[in-house]
């Protein structure tokens, strides 16, 4: 034990799913106490490799060595006991349980043989929190917390389980710039205390900032291993995609038309009667991209739900779309009026993971556009529309009848975005359109959003990715604590200035 330079080695890992070779003789060496990034496009095989490491999948061939010693995991629990902890992109949390219960579940300390020793567990968690400087509300219910907080919960959870190697799958995809800095501080802290981090990401800037070593994967193979000081973003991107990419939105002069959507005095309460959106006013013109930046959980979700008819706003709110009062109409009518919606939570509200790709592709489409036959689903038309999405948005799938659950997160996102973008909508409400997808696809979706606006579509862009809001929006608004603040026109304010408003630093400058 401990006589190896590497805490973890994966040798000649090969894994196939049917005809698809997900991992083709992959070799990975990770040094103890470092941040080792693995980057690659969707479907490059990163997730498969990590699933093999945590024993969710069994490799067809190849070896895993921990501290120079060959190991065979019997199951995921075995991998966890050996000190491998994974933080998934879709958090593995129980939404109705407390943070405390979420952390201990599966690894409870007991007294008298069968009762959970909450005191001992709490002491242990508090020790971890103070040692690694985490501040999480242990008694809060998970569903009430922000994404950034949940991520901290996930980190504390794997630490509680005794992880030495922590795998983070796209951990920054839901965080604000400040949140990302917070996460990076935590990561540096963890590494400083001797933990090893495997960091999986699409975001090259962050990868360059945090990593000690970078492994680049493409089509199931490792294509390069580099040190962050040897490369820049453009170089990494081209290694990853296999061609040159530009990480800049191609912003053109907007063609702004009449007011399309006008929101006055919008106030929304959640089901516990807590005011989440306070007296918000804004207007969107056709052809305009209005971006709302903000820390996760500032009220974005409730604005969108009210706008799309998923939640009743409070008395006195008014939403006028195209001259028609739509404050209290159903989502179905929103669709018929030509409002499209890309939800943030793609698995929860974007798709039905258990049904097929084509069925998901026509959700909403069938309401707004119907089928040639009024009573029966026209499978030909449905498949044509699906193929259009697959082709234009590069959704990697085997067949239209495949279950959506079988696709990777990035591909599902591309499908959802494609579905909404290819319908002839007048207004698009878009939440985090590029969450969890790779640089090539981000470039593509950004271009699509700009093209749509050029055609006269109004776009409401709500993103936790500040850069995305700044790159794309004609008008920028910032949400903080349920209230909307002005973030200037395109390019008027700097990232730091907007970041400050996001944290409430500018609350009186409304």
């Amino acid at each position: 034990m401990g006589n190896s330079e590497y805490i973890l080695e994966m040798r000649n890992i090969r894994k196939t799913f049917g005809e698809l070779v997900a991992n083709d003789n992959v070799n990975l060496k990770v040094r103890k106490g470092t941040v080792h990034s693995i980057i690659g496009e969707n479907g490059a095989g990163k997730s498969t490799l990590m699933n093999i490491l945590t024993d969710i999948h069994k490799a067809d061939s190849g070896d895993i060595l921990l501290n120079g010693e060959k190991v065979h995991f019997k199951n995921s629990l075995d991998a966890a006991r050996r000190g491998i902890g994974m933080i998934y992109q879709e958090f593995m949390l129980y939404r109705d349980l407390s943070v405390f219960d979420n952390i201990i579940l599966g690894f409870e300390k007991k007294k008298w043989g069968f009762i959970i020793d909450r005191k001992a567990c709490r002491k242990e968690i508090e020790r971890i929190c103070s040692e690694y400087s985490f501040n999480i509300p242990l008694d809060a219910i998970v569903k009430d917390l922000s994404v950034a907080m949940l991520q901290q919960v996930e980190i504390v959870k794997v630490l509680y389980r005794g992880a030495d190697i922590i795998i983070m799958d796209e951990p920054t995809s839901v965080l604000t710039p400040q949140g990302i800095q917070g996460l990076f501080r935590a990561i540096r802290n963890l590494v400083g205390m001797g933990k090893t981090i495997i960091f999986i990401s699409h975001k090259l800037k962050e990868v360059l900032e945090i990593s000690d070593y970078i492994t680049i994967m493409n089509h199931g193979r490792v294509v390069a291993e580099v040190l962050p000081n040897e490369v820049d973003e453009a170089k990494l991107a081209s290694l990853m995609v296999g061609r040159d990419v530009i990480l800049q939105a191609n912003k053109v002069e907007p063609k702004i038309g009449d007011v399309l959507l006008s929101v006055k005095g919008l106030t929304v309460k959640d089901k516990d009667e807590i005011v989440r959106v306070k007296n918000v006013d804004f207007e969107i013109h056709s052809g305009e991209i209005l971006g709302i930046a903000g820390v996760a959980g500032s009220g974005q979700q409730w604005i969108v739900e009210a706008l799309f008819g998923l939640r009743r706003p409070e008395h006195g709110s008014q939403i006028i779309f195209d001259g028609k009062d739509i404050t209290y109409v159903s989502p179905r009518e929103h669709r018929l009026d030509g409002i499209g919606y890309v939800p943030q939570d793609r698995m929860g509200s974007g798709v039905n993971a258990k049904s097929s790709l084509w069925e998901n592709s026509i959700m909403g489409y069938h309401i707004a556009h119907g089928f040639k036959n009024k009573y029966l689903v026209d499978t030909k038309q449905a498949n044509e529309f699906t193929d259009e999405i697959v082709e234009q948005f590069d959704v990697r799938r085997q067949a239209n009848k495949d279950k959506v659950a079988a696709l990777s997160g990035g591909n599902i996102q591309k499908m959802v975005v494609g579905r909404e973008f290819l319908q002839r909508n007048k207004l698009l409400i878009i939440e985090d359109p590029t969450r969890g997808i790779d640089v090539g696809a981000i470039e593509f979706i950004w271009q699509k959003i700009i093209d749509l606006a050029q055609e006269g579509v109004a776009v409401l862009l709500i993103s936790h990715e500040l850069n995305e809001v700044m790159q794309l929006s004609d008008t920028i608004k910032v949400i903080y604590n349920g209230q909307l603040y002005d973030g200037g026109r395109h390019g008027e304010l700097t990232e730091e200035e907007i970041g400050l408003i996001m944290l409430g630093g500018n609350a009186d400058a409304k």
């Binding site: 593995m92 129980y94 599966g106 089901k271 998923l310």
Partner: protein, 308 residues
Amino acid sequence: MLKEILRLAFSVSTFASTFRLACPLLFGSMGGCYNSASGCANLSYEAVMLYSCFFSVLGSYISGSPWVGLLFGMGIGIFISIIFGTMSLVFHSNMIIAAIALNSTAWAVTTLLMVIIFGVRGTVYNERIVSFKPVHFKWMENLGIFNKIFNDNVILVYIAFCLVIIAYIVMYHTPFGLRIRGIGQNEKAAQTAGVDVNKYRWISLILMGAFTGISGTFLTLSGISMFVENMPAGKGFLTMISITIGRFNPLLIFLICLLFGYSQALVLVLGTLSLPTQIIAMIPYVAVIIVLFIDGLKKFKGVADIEV
């Protein structure tokens, strides 16, 4: 007339029977709440209860001991839940359909067995069938109404009340309960926490079978010592409903079982008045609808609340 109804509705004997009538629901729901919490849509309570009614009578008939009857009742309960588990957890067939199949065959099978073994139809009555004897506590005698309500019940009644506390502790203070609740909310997360999801589902299912078996035994061997065709007559469904409305919390479930027990007690006492029996017989089921309605109102807000 109204005065008479109110007098009966709040009489000591109504409350005394409330507790007795809540017992069959209590056993099934305290044993079954884990199964429901683990995310299993198990509707087979009615079948399990009916089989255990029959087999508890058979056990008592063969041996002359209600304890053997209880053992038979629990045994058959476990057996039926294993059949359900084989269909739903091993073959992954639709749980609703599996339960409907079990519920529909239960009546037929028990009636058939009745004819074969006892040679009668409708009701099995035999002096060899022995019930549990009421237990008398001397220390309760001076407690007035409390004495009238609680004293002189069969041992199972007292066990049922202890069970509520035990079920609560197991649900909220043991790793088992925590893991079961976790599995119900996010199966994949539980898997990544190294919890053997299938094992926990099976344990909870067998608990459901065993305790619903006690429910069946209670129906037959708590005094009347006989078996009647389709004996539970909806009590299995009431059990399931109380678990669902109580959201797997044993204390809440307990309150709801008491409410159902009370409404059944009303059926008995009001039956002595010259009211139409059909209306009185409706009371427990109207209670279900009212409870569901109140429960629904509490949750109702806005056009739709998207639970993610």
